[in-house]
Amino acid sequence: MGSDAVLGFFVRFGAVTVLVMMASLVFVLFRGSLDSMKTFGPKFLVSSTWRPNDLEVTKRTSDGKIVRDADGDPVMETIPAKFGALPAIYGTAVSSIVALTLAVPLSLGAALFLIRIAPRLRPRLPNGWRVPIDMWISFLIEFLAAIPSIAYGMWGLFVLVPYMQSHLEPGLNWIFGHVPGLGFMHADALTGRDMLTGSLVLAIMIVPIITAVSRDVLRAVPQAQIEGSLALGATWWQSCFEMLRYSRSGLFGAVMLGLARAAGETMAISMVIGNIPNIKATPFAAAQTMSSLLANEVSEASTKLHTSSLLQVALILLLMSLAFNIVARKLIVGKGGGVRG
């Protein structure tokens, strides 16, 4: 009976608390979304209508004629509110994938730089001290990973959106309009608040985390592997490739962490993506992600069904992020860089 027992109790208490919180979160979301599940069933996942309010419209016959009553006034009918999550799921998937495509090469390049070049680039000051720029860069990257996402969002809104609208997008749009085969991505109007800008902001936000994790993964590659390939006549680049191959499963984990962050990101993306439930081929159309949908509507949901549908979206998002994180952990920790023994 001593500090051991007390400590043991706290450790167990902590672990159990986390589990209970997790389980109650899933339970609450699940119970809350029962209404929506009953009403829409699996169609919720594939329908692209998101109409929170009932609609009063004139009744028409099947050939399009307006139905009139005895006095000649049009007959009105009510179309009930309808919810489908497809545009939000699509928006989350596309913006995350585009963000990864942009961020992964950049992050891996940065991580390789930090491991293989930066440590040797320590300029010597006149008094003999060496400037550890690799440590500075590492610090900055970790700092970037810790910046609150609202800051990225505001930067995106005030800097990136105007720039995209006036510079980058007109150029790209011109290319899409003139290169045969790319016409489907051409847009008539450019707002700057669209899928492309959203993906770009996501990419910028996930570069630090992917870089930081891959740097640690690459650092664990044994020197013997690098020297082994060099001794066989590999070029510097080929030996870098060897490092990537050696730690491929850890790197995949880093990418999954980035994906989890991109898919779950809320504040920044809801400020720049436009928030319209669209499924469009052009990257210049406003779109919506699951998290931006939630951020926009949760506080104003008035009907039970609306709230329930939002909770179901949240449940989908939670399960998805959970899956990404579990896979990522398994890859990074479980296999320690990808080699047995």
Partner: protein, 311 residues
């Protein structure tokens, strides 16, 4: 023995500028207590003072690799003090000496792997078939293909056995499958591994035993068709049976390849090398035919080391 050593030792890590040649006895005092302790077990003389004792048989050979007054420092730490050495083509040359004397450093310098280490300072040169190794214009990639290396700890790549063996060809852009197959089989046969792995060429190299992995690394080095094989304690992590196999292999490779092997195992050096160089504290003390080094060395310190009286 111990007391004598302390009174007669010269500080071996003089500033890099120190020239070989006689020095007044006692002129330098060993200021580093750690080195002092390490050195205390050597029963004799002044390694910096006497030039390397090279037996005449060495000079009579045709040399493929020459080391010319080669000096290397890791930062401020002078590790090799003006090495001169000629390595006979087609023969097996062993490097022996106590731990930390610079054997690996010398070996790794031969295919310029030390270039990678941060803060290395190199003076002097080496020549491979008359061509400078450290010249600015040398194609290091090409050089490393000609001087293959086998490391102390086997380091197969995380790929199949086949891909490991043909790695050097792959990175050189070889496409022909027939050629890859042929080189793979030939190299594995040369490394005495073919019979054991021919049915599972496409399974992971990590599934092999330690000894098999080391022979795989030898096969991988052979596949690049080097002229010289540099081996750094290739058997230190292996059991006696695997060691014997690798030793037999080294014996087989003689003639086809020039082998330079670092070993801590005196019996191994005696069994499989033609020439042996004894290194101590960054210098080569004595260099001659293996039999002479082990049976009738010229210097007392060599004798002391090979008979296991220190080191």
């Amino acid at each position: 023995m111990m007391q004598r050593a302390q009174t007669t030792l010269t500080h071996p890590s003089d500033p890099p500028a120190a020239r070989p040649g006689p020095k007044p006895a006692g002129a330098s005092v060993n200021s580093n207590p750690a080195e002092n302790r390490a050195a205390a077990s050597l029963p004799v003389v002044l390694p910096g003072v006497a030039p390397t004792d090279v037996h005449p048989e060495v000079d009579a050979e045709t040399h493929i690799l020459t080391v010319d007054n080669f000096k290397l420092a890791y930062g401020k730490r002078q590790t090799l003090h003006g090495i001169n050495m000629k390595i006979a083509g087609g023969k097996v040359t062993a490097l022996i000496g106590p731990s930390g004397c610079g054997k690996s450093t010398l070996l790794r310098s031969m295919n310029r792997l030390n270039d990678l280490v941060d803060g290395v300072k190199i003076e002097g040169d080496m020549r491979f078939k008359g061509q400078s190794i450290y010249d600015r214009n040398v194609d290091v990639i090409d050089l490393r293909k000609k001087l293959g290396m086998v490391f102390q700890k086997s380091n197969p790549f995380p790929m199949s056995i086949f891909e490991n063996v043909v790695y050097a060809l792959r990175i050189a852009g070889e496409r022909s499958n027939a050629r890859l197959d042929e080189v793979c089989a030939k190299s594995l046969k040369s490394a005495a591994l073919w019979e054991e792995v021919k049915d599972r060429l496409h399974s992971s190299a990590f599934g092999l035993s330690g000894g098999q992995q080391q022979r795989l690394c030898i096969a991988r080095a052979i596949a690049a068709e080097p002229e010289v094989l540099l081996m750094d304690e290739p058997c230190s992590a292996l059991d006696p049976i695997a060691t014997q196999k690798v030793e037999e292999l080294i014996y087989e490779l003689r003639g086809k390849y020039t082998v330079v092997i670092v070993t801590h195992n005196m019996h191994q050096a005696a069994r499989c090398s033609d020439y042996t160089a004894f290194m101590y504290m960054g210098r080569i003390i004595e260099y001659g035919p293996t039999e002479a080094i082990f049976v009738r060395p010229h210097l007392k310190e060599t004798e002391a080391y090979v008979t296991g009286r220190f080191g």
